[in-house]
Amino acid sequence: MKKTIIYSLLFTIATAFTTHSGGIYKTNTGNINFYSHTPVEDITADNHKVKTAFSAENGKIQFSCLIKDFEFKKALMQEHFNENYMESTTYPKATFDGTISSISTIDLGKDGTYTSPVVGKLTIKDVTKDVTTLGTFTVKNGLVNAKATFNLNPYDYNVSIPKMVAPKISDSIKISIDIDYTHQH
């Protein structure tokens, strides 16, 4: 009985001093934008339902987003993107599996802005390539905003672009990520 009381007290104390600095941070409403600039045309699209999470313990970070959920200003552009270039019925998702390299330097229990390299593998159309970028993590009131940008070449991911429209699509597409993570457990 005495032991149980001691264990309960220890557990209560430990719980009381636990901050939101551990565990998993997650969201299903992250933003990814891509932007292609050429002298002929600028093309941009947004996805606001990106599923992503990271582990505060080991820095593992993962993303999954539906290709069909990228919204373009012009419906025809969206149609061509999905049907001709991305073949999004056959390859419906893009995923990223990586690590926040300096997770130990980010104090998730203290408001502030931190940076860390993020390295991992990006898979699009069943092609997996290494990606490295610098992530900016802003901690405020227990929430974590993460921002990062990197460029990718669509031809590296077997995106076939007809010669006729190739001048309209950049071979260095800018990917911008803006995510608000909340603590899960």
């Binding site: 998993i24 997650k26 969201t27 299903n28 409403t29 992250g30 933003n31 947004d46 606001h48 339902k49 599923k51 992503t52 999470a53 990271f54 582990s55 593992k60 993962q62 993303f63 999954s64 987003c65 539906l66 069909k68 959920d69 919204e71 012009k74 419906a75 025809l76 969206q78 999905n82 999004s88 019925t89 419906p92 998702k93 995923t95 599996d97 608000d180 909340t182």
Partner: protein, 148 residues
């Protein structure tokens, strides 16, 4: 005779230009005024995707679907696309419906655990068994509107 030929060619060229212009500027699917391709419960839709994702993606993605079910929660964390979750028979599986920001008031008026009906464009199943942090799954609807 020459005048008629020139006039005819002009009309044809004008017609082609008009067609190209309209194609290039065609609007996005108007979910509100387009008849749904299929109507089913949230449990049925989720089960189709969960059982055979490839076949469900071919059959239902890009289709306008009316889904009925019990509201699990509202996810208003992204003001660019307020979202709701409809329950399925899986604890970590939902139908995630995204709305245009102008529908925020309609979403706010919804009561949790109420039975609702949503019409939207199916985008597929998000979540991945190979990614251990993202093993929960959502069948995603976009450009959604509330029917009931």
């Amino acid at each position: 005779m020459r005048k008629i030929t020139i006039l005819s060619i002009s009309f044809i060229v004008l017609g082609i230009l008009l067609f190209v212009y309209r194609m290039f500027n065609k609007p996005h699917t108007d979910v509100l005024n387009t008849k749904a391709n299929v109507e089913m419960t949230a449990i049925e839709l989720f089960t189709y995707f969960d059982t055979n994702e490839d076949s469900a993606t071919i059959k239902y993605s890009d289709q306008i679907i009316v889904v009925s079910g019990v509201l699990h929660s509202k996810d208003l964390s992204n003001e660019l696309e307020p979202q709701i979750l409809i329950k399925t028979n899986e604890d970590d599986g939902f139908i995630r419906c995204g709305f245009k920001p102008e529908y925020l008031n309609n979403i706010n008026s919804l009561k949790e655990s109420s039975t609702i009906k949503v019409k939207g464009i199916c985008k597929g199943l998000n979540g991945d068994d190979d990614l251990e942090l993202l093993s929960d799954k959502d069948v995603v609807l976009s450009s959604s509107i509330l029917i009931e």
